[in-house]
């Protein structure tokens, strides 16, 4: 079933510099509408209001990490079905497999390529294997 084109992305990332770079890559290069959250808790509040098509979620964050955030998002009926893509520095193949099992759409490894970050998300969104 073809989906509507990807347009709204919620970026959840604790590092302020990575926030800037990733959101610019997504919006200015990728043409997406981006909202940024600096923590998982903030994302849990923002997601139901912003209603993103997709959530790009950092794994290693202080406090609630990305894994716990995904579980919490899944319990909120307003965003339970919103696809999540993890962004992580850890990307051993078994970890990637685990993230997929947790119900994420895919995993993006840091450092990512800014030119293609949005395209990668679009490909995941459209269900193309990477």
């Amino acid at each position: 079933m073809p989906r509507k084109p990807l347009s709204r992305v919620l970026l959840v990332e604790d590092d302020p510099d990575v926030q800037v770079v990733a959101s610019m890559a997504l919006s200015e290069i990728g043409g997406l509408v981006v909202e940024v959250c600096g923590s998982a808790l903030e994302a849990l509040k923002t997601a139901p209001v912003f209603q993103p098509d997709l959530i790009l979620l950092d794994v290693m964050m202080p406090g609630m990490d990305g894994i716990a955030a995904l579980e919490a998002l899944r319990k909120d009926p307003r965003v339970a079905a919103t696809p999540v893509v993890f962004m992580t520095a850890r990307a051993q193949s078994h970890e990637v497999a685990r993230y997929r099992e947790l119900g994420s759409l895919g995993v993006i490894t840091k450092p990512f390529e800014p030119e293609s970050l949005a395209d990668t998300l679009r490909a995941l969104w459209e269900g193309r294997a990477l």
Partner: protein, 377 residues
């Protein structure tokens, strides 16, 4: 009818085991009966003691647990005393029985203490090692994260400037920008390689080893690396590889090794040249996979250090080629983890062949042939 010694031995072992595990009156009563049987069979206290010792040592091996040792020792003594009770009434007398029991108990106590100490020491060592390994994993994970986070912003920022402002940036600045961008990518690769090498060497990464055909792995590696070689004007060619060869390897890791060797070969080949990949038997027990280039060859002075970490032949020529200096160390670690060996042959001006040997299916394990592996010189 006299009980046979065999029956006594078996009964003794079973009843003792039962008593050590659960205590209770029934096994103790059987000990007494066995003792009586022994007296009737004309056995001596020492023979019953030997029987006791043998059964106990066997049980101790099965039951040994530090928390329970005092209980076990106590029950063993009670059981033995019960088995010896019938001897008290016999002509061999009480004296003999009690002295043997005392000696035996003392010896047993010592053996248990020694065994427990050994056990505890081994346990401590194991705990310590586990703790160290966990700490190391944790450390690596943190280092990984801490290095990659700033790299992500550097690489991302440079990439965005490049993409968005490329045409507006003056030539000089753009060249510097490209250097910075390229090197941030290289730094990321370096982090990958350092961590990968560490994980392979420490054994913290598991290899998915299974028997599989070799040829598809070579085909895959050639295909996957051709785009990179094409940028350098080099063609990768799969020259010779028997289709029916099976090897027991982690396929992804073999491709990782080949990717390293192929990209090295392409880097050092003059444009317009070919890099050949082949597989063939080497002796009776190895399959040799070889990657051959027609590059400048490896200088004599460098040959002994080829597989060392961060070793690069001539920094003035290799640095711009973008290597991290860890590729061949990783190849060596991977090949050796799969029971293979790695080496090269080189002729200045004519080219270099890097090869790795994988054990043939069903071939007897063979010690790596040192003369064939230049890195072990």
């Amino acid at each position: 009818m006299k009980a046979s010694i065999k029956t006594l031995t078996d009964d003794y072992a079973v009843a003792l085991r039962e008593y050590l595990e659960g205590g209770g009156e029934a096994p103790l009563f059987r000990a007494y009966q066995i003792g009586r049987g022994a007296v009737e069979a004309g056995l001596g206290v020492l023979e019953v003691a030997a029987l006791h010792q043998e059964a106990l040592v066997h049980d101790l091996l099965l039951l040994l647990a530090p928390d329970e040792s005092p209980t076990i020792a106590k029950r063993a003594s009670e059981f033995f005393a019960e088995a010896l009770a019938p001897f008290e009434a016999s002509r061999r007398g009480f004296q003999e029985a009690t002295s043997v029991l005392r000696d035996l108990n003392r010896e047993l106590q010592q053996r248990i203490e020694v065994a427990l100490k050994d056990y505890q020491a081994a346990q401590d060592k194991l705990d310590e090692r586990r703790r160290m390994e966990a700490l190391k994993d944790e450390f690596i994970s943190i280092v990984n994260h801490e290095l990659r986070t700033p790299l992500t912003s550097i690489h991302g920022a440079l990439g965005i400037i490049n993409t968005k402002l490329g045409p507006e940036i003056p030539e000089d600045a753009r060249r510097l920008l490209e250097i910075a961008y390229r090197n941030s990518r290289r730094l990321a690769r370096l982090v990958d390689n350092v961590l990968d090498l560490q994980k392979i060497e420490s054994g913290t990464v598991t290899f998915e080893v299974r028997v599989q055909p070799l040829r598809p792995l070579l085909e895959h590696a050639v295909e996957a690396n051709q785009p990179y070689a094409t940028q350098l004007g080099v063609t990768l060619v799969l020259e010779e590889a028997p289709p029916d060869v099976q090897v027991e390897v982690d396929g992804d890791r073999v491709i990782q090794v080949l990717t390293n060797l192929l990209s090295n070969a392409a880097k050092f080949s003059p444009p317009g040249e070919r890099v050949g990949v082949s597989a063939a038997a080497s002796g009776a027990s190895w399959w040799r996979v070889a990657v051959t280039d027609r590059g400048p060859g490896i200088p004599e002075s460098f040959r002994g250090r080829v597989f060392q970490r961060f070793a690069q032949a001539d920094s003035s020529t290799t640095r711009p080629r973008g290597g991290t200096g860890l590729g061949l160390s990783i190849c060596k670690a991977i090949v050796e983890r799969m029971g293979g060996r790695i080496g090269f042959e080189t002729e200045p001006g004519r080219g270099t062949t890097f090869y790795f040997d994988l054990p043939m299916e069903g071939a007897p394990a063979e010690a790596p042939d040192a003369s064939a592996c230049p890195e072990s010189r």
